[in-house]
Structure formats: C-alpha cells, structure tokens
C-alpha cells in the first residue's frame, strides 16, 4: 500500500517470508558497502564473526540508517556477538533513542541533546565529534520488539560489568525472558561470579530455567531453591505450574506440586502484607494532594469566611507558572521546579490580592454574592488561559529525580513523585503553621478573623490584613498548582477537578482549623484508597461523599470545630 507499511514487519504474513525479506534487505544494504560487504553477508548467514571487529562494527552501524525493524533486530544480535567493548554504548544509545544518522552523509552518531544543539560522539572512536543541528539528523527508531531484543542484548554484555549492581540488574532483566542463549551465558557467568549477591540472583535465574526440566528431581530442586524468593518473575513462573482454566502447564508430580504450592503460599503472604503498606502509602499520597490543594482554601474560606470558587483557578495559575518557568529554562528541568515554587506563589498570591481588592472586599458578609462573583471569575480565568495558552493541555516535564521508583525490596516500592509530594505537603503545612502562629502577620490574621472591630481598635489595618490573608491563601494554591503539574494535566480545567475536593476537606476538617485540614485530608485520602480496591474508583468516591454527608449531619462543624465566642458569634 504505502511505503513504510510494507517496509515494516507485517505480522499477518508468515515469519519465513518476513525473515527471508529481512535477510535480503540486509544483504542489499551491505552490498552497498564494498569494503565489508562479503564479511557482513557471511556474518548474517553463519552468525559467526570472522572479519576484524572494527570493520564489522562500522558496517553494521552504517546499515542501521536505512534498516527496517526486522533488519535492525538482526543487526542488534550481530552487534551483541561482536565482543567489542564499543557495542554496549551503541546499543544503549539505540535503546535511549540517542543514536542518530546525519542526513547529509548517512554517518551514525551517538547524540546528546544540549540546549538547541546536539553534542555528537563518534561511536567507532568514542570521541567527541563536534556539535550538530537537530534538523540535520534523523533518529534511528526502535519499537517494542526491538527494545526487548536490545534490553536482553545489553544485559548479556552487562553480565561482564565491574559494578555488581549493574550485573544484578542485568541478571534480573534476563530472567524476564529466559531462553537457551540467556541460560548459556548465565551458566557461564555463574561459574566465574565472585559476588555472593550476584551469584544468588544468577542461581534464581537458573532455577527458573530448571522449572521446565524433564527430570523430576531437577524440578524439585529448582522449586526448593525458589522457595522464599518473592520477586514477581518467580511468582510469574510458579503460578502457571499450578494450572489455569485451559489446564495446560500443570505440574503433575505430587511432590513438586506440593513444593510449588508452599512456595506460592509464602509469596502470597508477603504480597498481602506489602499490599496493606502500599494502600496506606497510596492513601497518604492522595491525602497530601488533598491537603495541598485545600490548605490555601483553609485560609481564605476557613479563616476569612470567603467562599472562593476561583480557588481551583489559582492552582491552575500556579501550574501554568510552572509550565512557563520550564519553557524559560529548558536545560534545567530540575531547577525549574525549584524556581517555579516561589514564582507560582507570587503569581497566584498577587492574583489573589487583586481579586480581594477588586471584587471580594465589596462582598464581605454576603456569601451568596461572593460565591457567584468568584464562580464567574473562575470562568473568566479559565477562558483567559484558553486564549493565551490554547485549550490544549500543556506538558510539564517531570525531572529525572522525581520520576521512577524507589524499589525497597522485590515486592515493595514507592514512586518518587508521590513520595516527594507527601514530604512537600508536610513542609508547606509546617511553614504555614509557623507563619500563622509565630509571625506578626499570623497574629494579625487571627485577630482579624476572631474579632474584626476589636482588632481595628487595636490599630490593625484590617483591610490590608484582608488582602494579605487572601493573597497568602491564593499563593499557597499556586504552590499546590506546581505540585499538581507533576501529577496531572496542566490545562484550563485543572482547577475544576480539585475545587469540590478542596471544599470537602475543609468542611470535614472543621472550618478555620489548619490541623483539622491536615487530618481530614489525610483520612479522606486513606479512606478513599481503602475502599477503592473493593468498591472501584467511581463507587469509592460516592461512598466517601455519602459518609461525609452523614458526618456533617451529625457534626455540622467538622472534625475540629472552632470553639469560643468568636466562632459562634457569626
């Protein structure tokens, strides 16, 4: 039909056709390189390397530029069998998408993005080869099948790495997809391995391979060796032995079967235990998001009594600030987040002050009008960012140190972004508590909230305090927006999805109480996550809302109601 379609693997066709086609394509490609054509062609047929490594490496690299996916697959296998130390960085670059060809002469380079330019490295000599413009280069693409081949190929090379951690990762990678060739290299590595930890991982891998042995004793030994291991791939390998609906792969020997059942039972115990920990952490992290998004509201609504429906949009402004800051410093993604936090505080805080001065202050004591006015304002702000940034969502790149997983053991891991947000929430909460309880501003804010006329009589400029309080609450909403930009979409609707939750948290916690907000946010998060596995996400949310309605009916003032004359005098 069209060009790229026919040149890519069509899995509907027979594998033989595909293989033959790929081999032919490879031969053709290499035919264009007179110096190494014969060597390379013979390499494809025999999979043996007879020619000098350098010549082949260059030939294989050159062939990558125009190869289709199935050809690339073969080229990767060839690279891996070269026993050339330069092969590993090349394979790694290909996996990371850093291997590119220069359009002008078809030469292949390992590139590194450096601002608007590309820093080139010659893969053959491993030396820097100057800079280039991204437009002059074409990335050598990979697909799923290719990435899998790449990972296994790299893992085989990494088995010889000097760093034990790298070797362990390599063994674990190979364990995911055990075949004859990986078993052979693992057995070889097992003999020469000195590090006990790496040796243990290899032993597990070999035991996994032995699960398929025909000899009953070998199988039993393998299962016994695996008992006590909790890794997912072990579980993955043991479970099918117990049989499934189609009755295939069932372990028939009663002794081995009993051993498998025991091993699986052990793993299940651990899995259950860590699942509880997982759920608690999920609850805490959802709770921190709730606290973060509602703590600004706890000030504007809780302390000042202003129903600010535009609170969500102030978070949105913070998130867009994070986006803009990141656009301004594209080479320092990690730093941009740090810069974005004060910037978002300022942007949203100033917007808050402006809102208070221009709208809210005329409406004190008229909650319905405030609600309508701020709701209108929220629509205006949404349309504003739609006009400036387009209705499409913007992407805020997550810095390296915030993405990924903290693998504590085989079964328990925490995602970094969630972990940081829990810590960040606690920091913001602590800072706010300090401001409210230990600074003159905090004292005045509390004074005005408790008794406006008395505060005024004492010489507090209440109007100024109103503006500052509203600005503080809004600024914290901005900070929350920066955190949310790491979790969800930065778009005009960001605020809407959090406003209801924010009000829910503040009302549940008790209006006007910061600690109440913290505890209510965290408990709502945990309740939600405890329910979710049983009730599903939709129903869990409904249950939480029903619970809240019932709770508010029993205790209209929330978990921690404010006591005293001031609170009741409204």
């Amino acid at each position: 039909m069209s060009k790229p379609l026919t040149s890519q693997p069509r899995r509907t066709r027979g594998w033989t056709v595909l293989f033959a086609g790929a081999a032919a394509a490879l031969a053709l490609l290499l035919g264009g390189l007179p110096a190494h054509a014969d060597d390379a062609a013979s390499a494809t047929e025999t999979e043996a390397v007879s020619a000098p490594a350098a010549a082949d490496l260059a030939g294989i690299l050159a062939a990558f530029a125009a190869a289709d996916f199935s050809t690339k697959d073969q080229l990767i296998s060839q690279l891996a069998t070269l026993h050339d130390p330069r092969a590993r960085p090349i394979l790694q670059a290909l996996l990371d998408g850093h291997l590119e060809t220069r359009s002008s002469d078809g030469k292949v380079f390992i590139v590194e993005e450096y601002g608007d330019a590309l820093k080139l490295t010659d893969p053959l000599t491993s030396t820097a080869a100057g800079d280039g413009k991204p437009d002059d280069f074409e990335r050598i693409r990979s697909n799923n099948a290719l990435r899998k081949t790449l990972k296994v190929a790299i893992a085989q090379l990494e088995l010889a790495d000097t760093d034990p951690a790298v070797r362990i990762a390599a063994v674990k990678q190979m364990r995911r997809d055990i075949d004859d060739s990986t078993v052979a290299s693992l057995r070889a590595a097992f003999g020469s391995e000195q590090n006990p930890k790496v040796k243990h991982e290899i032993a597990v891998a070999l035991a996994l391979a032995d699960l398929a042995a025909t000899d009953v004793d070998a199988r039993l030994a393998a299962v016994n060796a695996l008992d006590g291991e909790a890794a997912t791939d072990v579980y993955n390998a043991l479970m099918p032995l117990l049989g499934d609906a189609d009755g295939k792969g069932i372990e028939t020997d009663p002794k081995v079967r009993a051993a498998v059942i025991a091993a699986v039972h052990h793993i299940n115990l651990w899995r259950g235990f860590y699942q509880v920990l997982d759920t608690l952490f999920f609850g805490l992290s959802l709770g921190s998001v709730l606290v973060l998004s509602s703590i600004g509201l706890a000030i504007t609504f809780g302390v000042m009594g202003v129903i600010n429906m535009a609170h969500g949009e102030l978070m949105m402004l913070g998130a867009y600030t994070a986006y803009v800051v990141q656009q301004l410093m594209p080479n320092h993604i990690g730093l941009s987040i740090a810069v974005a936090i004060p910037a978002a505080f300022l942007v949203s805080g100033l917007a808050g002050v402006a809102i208070e001065r221009s709208i809210v202050r005329f409406l004190y004591g008229r909650p319905l009008e405030t609600l309508l006015a701020t709701f209108g304002l929220s629509l205006i702000l949404q349309q504003l960012v739609r006009s400036i940034f387009s209705p499409l969502n913007r992407s805020v790149t997550t810095p390296e140190w915030m993405s990924g997983l903290w693998q504590i053991n085989d079964l328990f891991s925490l995602t970094y972004n969630r972990l940081y947000i829990v810590i960040f929430t606690l920091l913001v909460f602590g800072a706010l508590l300090l401001v409210m309880n230990r600074t003159s501003l905090g004292l005045k804010v509390r004074a005005v909230a408790q008794n406006r006329s008395m505060a005024k009589a004492m010489g507090v400029r209440t109007e100024r305090i109103d503006a500052l309080t509203f600005g503080l609450g809004s600024g914290i909403a901005g900070i929350a927006g920066v955190a949310l930009s790491q979790l969800t979409n930065v778009g005009p609707n960001l605020g809407q999805s959090y406003i209801i939750d924010s009000f829910m948290v503040v009302v549940f916690g008790g209006v006007g109480n910061l600690w109440g907000t913290l505890i209510s946010g965290m408990s709502l998060g945990i309740i939600n996550k405890l329910l979710e596995p049983y009730a599903g996400a939709v129903f869990a949310k409904i249950l939480v809302l029903v619970f809240l309605i019932l709770f508010i009916q029993r205790r209209p003032k929330g978990l921690f109601p404010q006591k005293g004359r001031a609170a009741e005098g409204h």
């Binding site: 693409r141 697909n143 990435r147 499409l392 993405s403 969630r418 939709v538």
Partner: protein, 434 residues
Amino acid sequence: MKAPLIKSFGFSRTLLAATTALGLFAANAQAADDTIKVGVLHSLSGTMAISETTLKDTVLMMIDEQNKKGGVLGKKLEAVVVDPASNWPLFAEKAAELLEKDKVSVVFGCWTSVSRKSVLPVFEKDNGLLFYPVQYEGEESSKNVFYTGAAPNQQAIPAVDYLMKDLKVKRWVLEGTDYVYPRTTNKILEAYLKAKGVAASDILINYTPFGFSDWQSEVSKIKAFGSAGKKTAVVSTINGDANVPFYKELGNEKISAEDIPVVAFSVGEEELSGVDTKPLLGHLAAWNYFESIKSPANSEFIKTWHTFIKNDKRTTNDPMEATYIGFNLWVKAVKKAGTTDTTKVIATLPGLETANLTGGSAKVLPNHHITKPVYIGEIRDDGQFDIVWQTKAEVAGDAWSDYLPGSKDLEADWVTLKCGNYNTKTKKCVGQTN
C-alpha cells in the same frame, strides 16, 4: 413555509406528484440565495473544546477547498458555525437552530455519544442530515445520521484480535472511563473474549471517573493482575485528560510496553501533542488513520491543513479523516442527486465510495456506516505512531454488535429493509422507519 413543505415531502410518499412540484418549488427557493449552508455543530468552549475545535477547523478547511473548486452545484458553500459549549442539552437546541432557523443542508458535528444521542430526535424530527465523525460504541443506526467514525468492530475487536494472535495475550484488563462508550465497548469486548475461550477470572474490568488523576491503586492492581504468569494487556477506553496521569503512573511504576502493553482507543496524535511522551513509548493505539501513514493523499491533506491553520506543528488525527471522508461523501451525493434536499441525498449516499487518506476507499453501507481499514500503531517518542499491524482490507462497519445478546439479532439496512433496527428473528422493525 419552506421547511414544513420539505418535511411533508420526506414523510408521505403517496402524494408523489404534488411533492415533486413542491420539491421544485423548494429548489427554486434555494436558488434564490446563492449559497448552500453547511452547519458545524462542534463545542468551541468547555471540556470538549480541546478535541472539537479541531474538527470545526477541518470542516471550514474542507468548505474552503470546495469553494476554491467552484463549490457544489454551481453554488458556494457557506459555513454556519454554532457553539454548543460541551453542554449536552444545548447540542439539541443548537441543532434545532441550525435546521429550523438557518435551514442548513447538512450538519457536521458532535463528538461524545451523549451529544449525539441528544441531537438525534431533532435530526429525525426535522429530517436533517448529520455526519458523525468519531469512533463510537455502535448500537445505533438512524436514517438521518451517517457514522464515518469506527464502530466497535472497526477498532476494538481488531485490536483485541491483534493482541490475542500476535502478542499472545492471555489475560485482559479492560480499563475505562465511566460513561456510555467505554461501558458498551467493554460489554462487547467481554462477550467477545469469552466467546474466544478466555476465562472470566482472566478478565478484569475497571471504571474510573472523568478526569481521574490518582492512578496509584488502579495501576498497582493492574500490576498485580499482570503478574500471574500469563501475558497481560490493558485495553484502554480511558477518555481525554485522565490518560496522561495514567501513563505517567505506568511509567513511574516501571510497567513498560514490553511487559504489559496498553492499547488505547481514545489516544491519538492530538491528545499526545501536549504530553511528555517518554512514559508512553511503545504503548499501542488502534485507529483507522494515523498521521504517520505515508500516502500522496495524506501528505496533501497534512499540507493543506498546515496552510489553513497557519501552524506547521498542528497534527492531524482520525476524527479529522472521518470528517474529511464525510464531507467528500456528502459533496459526491449532492452532485449525484443534483440537489441538497436531505431525503434525496440520504437515499443517494449508500453505495457511494470516496478515497480515504491512507490509500484505500470508504464506501457507504446500507446501515449508514462506512468501510474503514484498521491500523495498530506504537507510540513513538515524537508523539506519532509506527504502524505495527493493519487489516488486509477495509472492514465494514457493523451498527449492531454480533456479540451482545440484545443486539445480535438486529440489523440496520436503509436500502432494502428501510429500517435501522430490524429484528431478524421476529422479522419486525422496531423504532424509526423510512
């Protein structure tokens, strides 16, 4: 005066002679104004504006191009754009406004199934003509609507076939947003999988609310479900905004496309354009069109689009192609019928064929759906797709799924049966007839 006359023309076939005269009168009346009005019913504000604004621009571009070629029947086309603002009842109001006040000859519009369901009675009452350009859950065939997006058998079923045969997937997670399209699609897929011998314990169905962003528990559930020694895949009907945090969470929990591939039915080039694609690399999407497919028609279309929208970075996507096909089919039908009269255009449409953008052709079927090729693409780092699989020929759209108990016996055929939901067992037509 004009509208009721045309309506009587549509509904009573006994007064043939009289209506011919009335038809002539109508044609004359239209000739008086020298343009043909084309209604555009896409949300330009609210949540759906993200997706629908693009389709409005596509229709405007097509009208522009057609007018450059001299219009249709010697008349220029004139767009009437209204904004239903992502508000479902407002869709019905705006549709009535287009049909009754502006008297448009055809409407291109709607995205969500709710909005389509909301305008359906209006189009049937006023005998309007709607081209609906988005993949949907099926289980519908109206005389007044042409469905140029994919029915489930043109997207969901082939995608599942691909996973089952080529990736040897044995365990299935059907993950969706909680509304009509995912619920119906998942019902069809569940029935289909069970018919293929998949055990109930190997299927996990999950729904999340619109705009869901806290995916931790869902993803860890998928992870746990996927570690039972069988190849697992996620079939995602997650809608819109919720996708980005979902894929981010997958990336953070180190679930790569090689371990548990996710095939999505609502993630296309447009959705990926505002997204950091690193965590999505290698995951799959099933569509009837991808921007990366190289064909002369597609390059031409992309070039025209970039010129029209004055932005080289804007992507094209599947619903845009469906709009393109729908527009071309309508132009063809009007030319062939020699009139814009909806009854005649609707009668002319079945059997017409027009080239699609990827090299094949789209043929209008008697059930008001069209034939479409199905492609599976892997997400690349630049937000485009590498095609890894495609159907050998175009697949005919099936209005009523063969895998649902209630709809198995139903058939839509507006040519011979003149019915949108004919029950082959009771031999009766339920609902709207011709």
